[in-house]
Assembly symmetry: C2
Homo-oligomer: 356 residues x 2
Amino acid sequence: MNSKRVEVELGARSYPIFISEDFQLENFEQTIGQRRFYVITDSHVAPLYGDQLSVLPNRLGQSIVPAGESSKSLQQAEIIYGDLIRAKADRKTVIVALGGGVVGDLAGFIASTYMRGVPFVQMPTSLLAMVDSSVGGKVAVNHPLGKNMIGHFYQPESVLMATSVLKTLPQRELQAGMAEVIKYGIIMDAEFFAWLEQNVEKLLALDPQAIASTLEKSVCCKAQVVGEDEKEGGVRATLNLGHTFGHAEEVLAGYGRVLHGEAVAAGMVAAMATSVALGQASEDDLRRCRALILKFKLPITLTQSHRQTEFWTAMEGDKKSLSGVVNFVLSRGIGGCDLPKAIQRTFIENVLTSLR
Amino acid sequence: MNSKRVEVELGARSYPIFISEDFQLENFEQTIGQRRFYVITDSHVAPLYGDQLSVLPNRLGQSIVPAGESSKSLQQAEIIYGDLIRAKADRKTVIVALGGGVVGDLAGFIASTYMRGVPFVQMPTSLLAMVDSSVGGKVAVNHPLGKNMIGHFYQPESVLMATSVLKTLPQRELQAGMAEVIKYGIIMDAEFFAWLEQNVEKLLALDPQAIASTLEKSVCCKAQVVGEDEKEGGVRATLNLGHTFGHAEEVLAGYGRVLHGEAVAAGMVAAMATSVALGQASEDDLRRCRALILKFKLPITLTQSHRQTEFWTAMEGDKKSLSGVVNFVLSRGIGGCDLPKAIQRTFIENVLTSLR
């Protein structure tokens, strides 16, 4: 398989995404040039893929954070700023994020703030990070009172993906990553949705061609939306389909108990059911969504939605909510969607009750 | 005195600076409009000026940090993010920095990162913050291993200054603020330098007209430089005249023992002396610099420069230094300067020895 290249068009901040079977050092070196770089990775990924970059002479150093969401904190960031200062990283040093979404978000936040911003390269190693978080420049750490509350829009210089790394990804995380892939089909590409329906087995078996096509299609969708609306003033918000529901599910289940993709999968079903109840999507759309999500072994029900008041409060607390109004992205049938809009609490609760 | 208005020209991110005798709420309300705002201030400023904003109906809340440099930390920022979340500040809430440089830098860092960036208004209450840190968008917190290591370029929506607040500023801080004022004369405006030589007494007596003229001239100089080079790729670095020396002085004396402006004042003398030694400024330029700095009761010698190795190491550790090379901004005679360039250690040490 040759390397595929997708461009994120953002004027002076445009950048390429390279998709290949293994990490291709020529793409890496093309990006880095003669500059020094510093790797941020985690305790799961370092033993698996850390060596690939350690052979390069320009590597200034590496910080390894404990794997897991709890590393996305200001405390962990402060430790790494210290590592960077001690390693004499300067304003031209390139920060390389080698890992999943947690590493990418944390390393991106550090890159966006260290010495008021240094260059940044993403090497995502989870499906979720490849198809979603590594592209588009959203970087963040968590606050004890809210997820991703502290962050920035900060674009990488390039994104390098290797499909072979998915072989070491736990099956559950692979499935969870598929939720965001399905999302692109629902919100903007009916043909891709239909293709996914035909290729579930190949994808779960990590067929290299099918995976590469999925990555390419997903990052093209994401790149298109981000290129139109980098800072989420409009259309980018449609990428949050299912996420308002999913956010509440994650908060009430307790972070880590349910994976982000799992919560989003169930949230997308709720969003589609709401769209059907409003008469803007069909029962068949809902049936197909449910079926595809189930085929990827993802949940279709929000286990926490019976806690009605807490669930609504958690949706209000989502940072996508402005001044206590809860906004939802709704489908207009598979392949189309609306910008987020406020829906009455009772209407939503009736839909959620019907889904239990 | 009417309100003066200076524009910082940065395309879509342009913004006005209002200078008046007292804070004019009509300028504030013109900026804020119907939006809610949240005030960040400190324990010195809150009792003096906090009331002025608390009368406005759109004030969502206020966080008061302990006065002093130690509040410019990630730990303090995390506390305030929590305050903002609990107050239900959202993506449209305007953060208002009411205070000196510490408050402005901290509040600006918080505004640049809370929910990936919210609007920001500066109301500087120290001379240093008025003439320097509140204009130009440099925001930051400190790391235990280095000052301003964690930050961003993040422009305010507007800056509101009231000359009357300087009456409550300690005399030593007023004098220290004058160092950055003198700097504008040295690097880019010989006429302004000469005007300062004639107006020292009026300025130290806080003559409202003289102060207003000084603020206007200073922010015009700063706005011009920032407008040409927002992210310090070139000419903006000239604003660091005296700062490489000053940084080392601050580090070795211990932060807080010497004020930033005091260190910069002595650093500017060293920079001018180096320029004279290189034959690109005259002995008379050096004499006038020294004389004006002394008239404002500011130091003209670097008390720490006898610790030669430590002093050089501290200059290397400044984040303006790239890969261990120490760069200096030098004068081309009062009113002109060069971009930073590397100067040999032995050359600098000879100059510093001659100044002791």
